[in-house]
């Protein structure tokens, strides 16, 4: 794979994996704290959580971190178990396309809350 991906990419991904993990952990704790202190979590309160612009932006960064983290993790699994190079690259591309779609979808979902 070194010829295809470049030797330094592994270190970059190692860093992205850890940075995204830390962001997600912090976001989840803050989000959980906000949700638990918002009173009874009915539909209005649930939507209210996503109303502030700060939550939309922080939430979108969370989704982006999640998708990057998931893609890099899946890449590790494919490297271990999918040895036919064309199949492995096809899986990389398929999940990259799927997750890119998810990111755009997340923008739509988050900004649908007024």
């Amino acid at each position: 794979m070194r010829q295809v991906a470049g030797a330094r990419r592994g270190l970059d991904m190692w860093l992205v994996q850890r940075a995204s993990a830390v962001y997600m952990a912090v976001f989840l704790i803050v989000f959980l704290a906000l949700a638990l202190t918002a009173g009874p979590l009915d539909y209005a309160a649930w939507r209210g959580l996503f109303a502030p612009l700060a939550m939309k932006v922080a939430g979108l960064i969370f989704v982006a971190a999640l998708l990057a983290h998931a893609w890099i993790g899946l890449r590790e699994i494919f490297i271990d178990y999918v040895h036919f190079l064309v199949a492995r690259l096809a899986l990389y591309l398929a999940f990259a396309a799927l997750y890119l779609g998810c990111l755009i979808w997340a923008v739509d979902i988050l900004w649908s809350v007024q």
Binding site: A21, L28, R47, L67, A70, Y99, C102, I109
Partner: protein
């Protein structure tokens, strides 16, 4: 690296004969939970979309995760998230040089396994007592 030398590496994968150490068990579960969560991402986004779209859909999502198959799926996802999160924190510790000694690493592996399972059991219990399921 020489490709031929690479191909001659010994290969042993008799799952009945392999006894994984506890760190290996936590590691393979870290991978399995990560894979499950990665595949669940589109479903989770769909759930988020429904929960925010309308009052009826929000009630539908709550009802789905409150009973039957949905209750187990919710707990399964919760376990996958907690195990993956705790195992990840353990690895971040290793990255900074904490707990790398064998005894400490075995202990943190057990803590990861038991804490993730225990927290999910508590959540399940709280749900049952709170009128869920």
């Amino acid at each position: 690296m020489n490709r031929l030398a690479n191909r001659r590496r010994p290969f042993f994968l008799d799952l009945r004969a392999i006894r994984l150490p506890i760190g290996g068990v936590v590691s393979i579960m870290h991978r399995a939970s990560g894979a499950a969560l990665s595949l669940a991402v589109p479903c989770l986004l769909y759930t988020l979309m429904l929960s925010l779209r309308s009052e009826e859909d929000f009630a539908g999502v709550v009802a789905y995760f409150s009973s039957g198959l949905g209750w187990f799926i919710g707990l399964g996802l919760m376990w996958a998230l907690l195990h993956h999160l705790l195992a990840g924190l353990r690895h971040l510790g290793f990255d900074f040089g904490y707990g790398e000694e064998k005894g400490q690493a075995r202990r943190s592996a057990w803590i990861t396994l038991v804490l993730a399972g225990g927290l999910v059991a508590l959540i399940a219990l709280a749900g049952l007592l709170g009128g869920g399921a």
